[in-house]
Symmetry: C2
Subunit: 397 residues, 2 copies
Amino acid sequence: MKKQILCLVSACCLLQASAQEALWWKTPTTSPEVNEDKTVTFRMKAPKASRVEVTGDFLPKEIVFKGKQKNEVPGKAELVEGENGIWEYTTSNPLSPELYSYSFIVDGLKMTDPSNVYTTRDVVTMSNIFLVDGEASSCYKVNDVPHGSVSRVWYHCNVLGKDRRLTVYTPAGYELGKGRYPVLYLLHGMGGDEEAWITLGRVAQILDNLIAQGKAKPMIVVMPNGNMDQQAAAGFSPEGFVTPTIELPRTTDGSYEQSFPGIVEFIDKAYRTEKKKGGRAIAGLSMGGFHSMQISKEYPDMFNYVGLFSASARFKGRKDSPVYERCEDKIRTQFSKKPALYWIAIGKDDFLYKENMEFRSFLDKNKCPYRYFETEDGHIWKNWRTYLVNFVPQLFK
Amino acid sequence: MKKQILCLVSACCLLQASAQEALWWKTPTTSPEVNEDKTVTFRMKAPKASRVEVTGDFLPKEIVFKGKQKNEVPGKAELVEGENGIWEYTTSNPLSPELYSYSFIVDGLKMTDPSNVYTTRDVVTMSNIFLVDGEASSCYKVNDVPHGSVSRVWYHCNVLGKDRRLTVYTPAGYELGKGRYPVLYLLHGMGGDEEAWITLGRVAQILDNLIAQGKAKPMIVVMPNGNMDQQAAAGFSPEGFVTPTIELPRTTDGSYEQSFPGIVEFIDKAYRTEKKKGGRAIAGLSMGGFHSMQISKEYPDMFNYVGLFSASARFKGRKDSPVYERCEDKIRTQFSKKPALYWIAIGKDDFLYKENMEFRSFLDKNKCPYRYFETEDGHIWKNWRTYLVNFVPQLFK
């Protein structure tokens, strides 16, 4: 057996030597390295560089003044050059368990870590990721538990007259089983698409783990694309390899809300779902929270569970779409039909905090019962993953 | 509506100003740009750099001598600094229609293009990609045609006693239809995994397009993981964020071949398949070609169509696994059962060319009919995509 492997490997080496300068199955160095004491070492091979920094959400933010304006910017740390042109930095303290992201800055130029193939895209920002093990991050890991499937599926949107793409998580056992499952519709924020929750939000890992621990009911999770100007996430639509942007039209013109029953209808036909209000939840982050609020009040017999995560919580009636007219009345109607759960979560530093306070006042005044969950920090994925972990166990009880 | 959008965008700007230095939804510049005349312009914003190069498969290879040894290395081109620290290079000639990959080298440091979010991973090498439109590349594009679904699914492997992940393409209409479909099992090479064919191989795009053009029958494509040491591709197994490597044990010890009927059994249970030899094809590239040869001869009643793409075509009997014993006899038995197609494809420059010549001689001597397809170039994805485009229309006729 060993001979066999050696033969193939040496064949590959031959091929490689003649085809590329650098080995394409070896990284330049080892980075990042989570050490036993939970400090983390970053390394970068850059023999010609004169300055190498690392920046990421594991570093405390820095306060910078532009004139009188106080800005928070991501912290940076300097790497120090060692042998063979390998620069290195180790965090001064252990990091708490979390999924972190970072980039390098080499002589002022921001770049991903060539020794780490794990990246995520947030609009156009590519960052590397790493995970520090522990209780708080255990839900984001691929653990040795049964795994659900993740599918990218196309459905026909009658409102647009076009095919559109969505991401579907089906729980472990779905393929070989016969049972029906409840469905959580999970919506992304501005700049996101049907890839956002499954990559940045770690939906498959969170659901796999919560279901395996008996904390959540096995359920289907549907992650549609809320940008009506897009058929699919960047790179997966006939537009080709366009540069993603946050400045998309038709994200909040009411058409997505109006198209939503078509998504539910498709899912109810294509999957073994519980086709009733009690078997459906809708939740979203930021713009997706706004969409969840609007869709659930527009179709008050469709969803029994609603989650607003750092939502853009504008509920006052507007006249630019019939969907946005008489919002307050429609929300009162929705609550008169007693949804099983209306859940609002936001971080103390979120720029939408005040909007959420106002919406809560409205609900309080109108005796509309909801549950409220407040965290530290602001409009960040760490919070949205936390909200998902807390929301999902409350569903379909 | 405009006010609404402005409101959200300005909220995002506020958030952004306080959270990050650089806009996270704007790229530093526009790169690459495919010009109307099919030349391509690469740009890189690097005000502090003293040298910026681009390297990629669109440039002619360079010959480099190390002592007496002659090596081919990927070509490089110099970018020239213009205004605002933006470096630029335009290809001197139009590029022929193809899917290309490239990287930048800034002062000796290889990096991905921060203005291009489209990357692919080949083992540990991250490269950016772009597509030049035209007939030869039209199959690799997302065109405005009905799209199949792509799913990452877990099955239980009895040989390992573990769950393993595979990628499944189901053709457009599968979800809402009732019909049964034939299945192509498509295997990756050494260093690849269940992500290789779907990303580097553009399987979903190729199948969508060939089916839409009426050139291929609607079919399911199953892309398993051929590394028995892995449960799933890097990042998707309980091993965590490990660095991928090509040096995996248990890729050619016979156990994958022995486990293959379990994959077919799972697919036949989980999907609406044609559960018979006439409804099954198997093909693979490099090591996956070796696996396809071994599996199809080991189970001669399972597959009616076999494709070896740049295969590691070692067919002489060995004694390290019962699977590899008496190979020649088993291949003769396989051909006595008259498979509908045995297809061998290889490039003239492939380091496995001679092995394939020897295997073809063996087949010729034994009057085992096969079809042969020869191309330019060697052991590269461009060829494997081409082979897939030529193989798939011959299946399930």
